[in-house]
Amino acid sequence: MNEEQMRLSKDIVAEGFGVIAAAGYINNEGGQAIADAATELISGGCGTLLIDLEGTRIINSIGVSILLEIMEKLLEDKGQLAFCNLTPTISKTFEIMGLVQYATIFPDRDTARSELMGNASV
């Protein structure tokens, strides 16, 4: 697996609910790619964003800092951010850096979808 290359997809799965799947190294470039996808979904009316990190095993603090910026932008707009499929180390890093105070963490995408679909602005 080429960990340097971020593989990213985004989709609006319901009105107001967008999902970003990101696999690869979350550094400044990877974090920015996620931020760009998030900005596009937010501009498209998504107030609820789920970021699925299945396939992401290595991160750095610069990339996570960019995710913090997305979170603050969503909070300003009264939106919500969630993550799923985090490794224990990424989960701990998010906890240390404060993402878990403002974002919800789900074990997998199915659980996240079922929990969040009711909260999306439909």
């Binding site: 603090s61 610069i62 890093t93």
Partner: protein
Amino acid sequence: MKVALHLPVVPNVELVAAKAVETFGGALGMDQTRIEAASVAMVEACLNAMEHGGGQMVVRMSDDGPAGKTSLVIEVEDQGAGFDPDKAPRNSASRVHGCTSKRGWGLTLIRELMDEVQIQSNPGRTLVRMRKYVENAP
């Protein structure tokens, strides 16, 4: 076992060091979660060395300790201006929330993810020495 890498400052070179942690930690029998924690700490130490170190950095890895208390020891050395580790603040979520700059997490993450951390820093040489036990820290 001992490994030494002399790494140039080029984009994503920290992944070379992280890959070495994965291989070395796996050879020591470390589980995947502990390997990944050590890998992220290695990445952060390398990023600090690249940002503040002023040139090539040296990464060393070795195993240490008796059977049952074996640990992976990682050293990252640079030739930067140095800093006072006692005055390096621990970052916190409350400090960065709402601030424009959200940087400055490297040492905080290293200290949280590794079992032991020692920093020696003088003008021209900074050495970050980190230990991760193969099993839970004694």
